[in-house]
Symmetry: C2
């Protein structure tokens, strides 16, 4: 796949496009967490975004980027997680069909949420190849537009809008850290941040058990397969090609963290910020705690990506 | 005890007094919760207040109301919960001593937090009489000023400041609901709300197992003893005398809810608002869901009082 990266202008356009539908999420702070790190931490609360995750931004921008004719044929994606749900919700804001390809074995509650949002579910085998094939088939049958979860300029631009907000809410950030999965968020945020302030230092947090971005950056070429082993279900994805290119050109530094570190950070976020955040979201605090020497005395933005948690199966 | 109720002017003064120390807490909404009730729900997030509860407002106002000479002798209270912690934190903002009388058997983590905030702990037997006696003894020995958790005009005025904020954040509220324990919050909020808009309807939420305010209002006189049986540890207190007087004169309507209803509402708040709130806080949503006919089509403020939860002992 060959995807052109969005620029800051596309991100500004995206912000205007999604403004009627997306939430301007608050930025929260905690004196205790600041003290623990020795830095000024500003948490961008995308767990409070519509649908409970930043994914609504990208999906919404993609849906509202379509011309009327294309929109009428609907949208399709493959994701059993927040992106599938976000695309279903975004399509509903425009009153167009959404098709979501989900692997067998996906969590029932998540599938119900996607159906409730009005999407048609299409089951497939739980492999990347099967997902892509099934999505292609839906595309052929319906003419629906594929909205890839991360290797899509519209999606990256949408995710980047959170940085435009954050940099209005907090002046003079020194650094920004996001989790890295497929890299849609990390790349969109890097482009947005450097579009405003080229000196801002970009960090990514990655589970040690899915550290393909860290290894790809270290060897200067994208690793093309990954056996992910991490509790962070949102970050098991291999980083996308355009996303990797963006991380390289924006000199994103990746910090890897163990699942134990992430779970401890998750509990800290719940206790100190009083926020329900997903385990994937907690990688950013885990990373900042682990390599605090990067952040000491700095003003740091941390993106809390989502809050869709099974309250009956907490990881502690 | 004979306590004069604060007026709206005292609440405005309190707001100015605590402004340098307290958090202007956000107001959050949820389309799903709105749909569930058929009303416009605005959640005032005091779980995001300093110390994780609204109690910091009242304690901070009391601490900064003292003249320098009195302040130098410190403050004392009896509370093993959020008020004790709040008073310790408030005293720390002024650099004065705080004494907190705590009953034997209080939760260790809470006591540690109070000590960490810099207060001196004084143990006593776990009865109301023993608590009051121990506080009186500390007062005599140190000259510290007693800051009662709710039957104190400075405390009520401080709690009322959240309504001044809320009514700036949300226009034209029709109704406001708070939990009722000792009644410091409910009375301060009623005075503040009616000082701005006398037509606003005040509601209180009370656990069925500690429904002394409901029964006191029904019979027109304050019940003077209570065998509380509820999971809502913040609401087991008998309503205070001045607080009861305020609820009567402000025509506060009390809705009682079972612990099961409250736990279900707590889970809903965590899931839909992505907020960690205490079980006591969830009574307000439980009440609105239970008697939704009071609220249909209305714009309702709900005070989420606190977020200090033992994450290892959730009630579901």
């Amino acid at each position: 796949m060959s995807v052109v990266l969005p620029g800051i202008e596309q991100i500004r356009d995206a912000a205007a496009r999604i403004a009627p539908y997306a939430v301007v999420t608050p930025v929260l702070r905690s004196a205790r967490l600041d003290a623990l790190v020795g830095a000024e931490l500003h948490f961008k609360c995308e767990n409070l975004q519509r649908g409970g995750a930043f994914k609504f931004r990208g999906a919404c921008n993609a849906v509202w980027s379509l011309d009327d004719e294309q929109a009428a044929r609907g949208v399709v994606t493959h994701s059993s997680g927040n992106h599938g749900n976000a695309l279903a919700m975004a399509a509903a804001t425009r009153g167009i069909p959404a098709h979501v390809v989900v692997p067998e074995g996906a969590v029932r509650a998540k599938l119900e949420a996607i159906e409730q949002a009005g999407a048609v579910l299409h089951r497939c085998a739980p492999t990347q190849a099967a997902r892509e094939a099934a999505a292609a088939e839906v595309q052929q049958q319906t003419g629906a537009e594929l909205v890839h979860p991360y290797a899509d300029a519209r999606v990256m631009a949408g995710q980047g809008t959170l940085v435009l907000e954050l940099m209005r809410q907090v002046e003079a950030l020194d650094a920004l850290i996001t989790p890295i999965g497929g890299g849609g968020l990390a790349s969109g945020c890097a482009i947005a941040a450097h579009g405003i302030d080229p000196t801002l230092v970009m960090y990514g947090a990655e589970p040690a058990g899915a550290d393909d971005a860290a290894r790809s950056l270290a060897r200067g070429a994208r690793i093309e397969s990954l056996q992910a082993e991490t509790i962070c279900d949102g970050l098991r994805t291999l980083i996308g090609e355009p996303n990797f290119a963006a991380l390289r050109s924006h000199r994103t530094q990746v910090i890897t963290v163990t699942d134990d570190e992430t779970i401890a950070a998750m509990k800290l976020l719940w206790r100190e910020l009083k926020l329900v955040v997903e385990v994937s979201s907690a990688t950013v605090l885990a990373a900042v705690l682990k390599q605090r020497e990067h952040f000491t005395g700095r003003r740091v933005g941390l993106v809390l990506t989502g809050g869709n948690v099974d309250l009956d199966a907490l990881p502690w």
